[in-house]
Amino acid sequence: MQVTRAFKQAFLERMLLGFRATDVSSKSMSFQEKKSFIKLSADVAIAVARGSRKWTRGLIASVSKEQQKRLLPRVIPRKQYERLMKPCSSNSWKIPRSKKILRKSLRVSSTRRKKKLCAVEKRTRVLRRLVPGGESLSGFSLLDETLDYVLSLRAQVGLMQSLLMTCEASKRRAHELKCTSPETKASTVGNRGRCGGIP
């Protein structure tokens, strides 16, 4: 997977749409609610921007379970929602194959792998819990989805950070501008100090 500019653009657009849909800018929400809605918007945005992967489906499924389909229809456009929510057709192929390979691997390397399996198995289990939708994934697909998920998480974190920086910077700028205009009128040290103290 490549983190393309189009991907980042799609993510940003969706996240901002999600902000609007969940109305986080209103004054009437509690802080916790706002935070959870922002996180929801961001997660849904990254999932939709990525497209159809196992972890994106898992993510959207868990979100819709939590939200009970209250907000999602507004946050995601209907078409992509349907596409993401329909059961993946590849699952039926995967299961017979993994059974065959499991049988083979059991036959070939049962005793040799036991010690290794314990340590790796524990961690695989933890990883399955971390990656959304990872419960039903086998070894290779789990790593594949983890790779994808890590890349998307990074993009998400980076973009959210930059959004935050911009918002804070613009807020600071707005305050500065507000402060400078009364300064020109009343050039008292006290005034300036006050503006500086309340950025």
């Binding site: 983190v3 961001a42 998480l153 990074r154």
Partner: protein, 349 residues
Amino acid sequence: MGSAGSYGVGTGNSGAYVTEISEPARFEEEIRSLIQARFDAPPVSGGSFTALLGLSANQAVGLLHEPGAGEISAPAASSSPTGLGHPLGCSPTFPSNAALAERAASFPVFAAADSPASSSDGGPSPPLKAEPPDPDSSPPLPVPFDKPRRPAKRKDCEKQKAKGPGKKIKTAEEQTEGDQLPYVHVRARRGQATDSHSLAERARREKINARMKLLQELVPGCSKITGTALVLDEIINHVQSLQRQVEFLSMRLAAVNPRIDFGGLDSFLMAERGPLAASNGRGEAALDPVSWSSDPAPGTGLRTDLRPSQQSSTAWVYPYALIDHGTSLFGYGAANSVPLNSNQSKTDL
């Protein structure tokens, strides 16, 4: 792919917009021309952002790997001169080999070779491009295949191919994922069984090991670790830390949010060719270039330039800069500055 079409516009403009971030004066020009270009460029199928500057995505991901990713000037100096400094419109040509592309994403230096705009740097880029193919050639061992092995591989690859279309319902902007090779040619090593079962088994193991290697390269500090369990440990830690970061950032966004009116920005995004008239003068002042680059010189130069101009006219600059500079500069470089900012935001509130 839609991305190919959209990058075409970028190439058309790239000649005018190739600059270096290390040059303060040209950074200003570039931002100004960005504003103009954004509203002059014809709409492209991929969307209106496409006409604009952007660090190539490989660079962005590559820069993520650098601990001091906030310093865009340092990587620019180390890589080719025009490599990183061309935020505008150059169409990055992603390598067609997707497995290569994945590896490429982790080579910061290689990112510079992606941009066609670095035409003056024809020298460094071919040798740079030559590097990643070398390590990448080892996993798919070329081999004269035997007939009895073929059915096993065929089955595998057919099922993979069948899985392919179902699994990858791609949007226009996505690239093909790495490892869907049509054939997995595996040579039976000396002293190893050659029956189809163990071969399939070995092929599967090779695949898993290849993925593990990719993950190792992706997660910082993992390449020195040997042993699957420890590597998985690191991966788990990394994923957990990223998830925690998302939570933390959403909390901070919630804190800062009431001041910013996102409604205006939405109308802008919807319109997609939002003229400057659709302005939201309240919270979205000009982007602070000091945030974007560690070099103070372009920042101050830019700020003095943009301040006299209307607030609204510069209000739309930042979404593009966000996209283009966001992940590169703030991937991990800002991780250190996050605690600082949290203190600041507390005083803000």
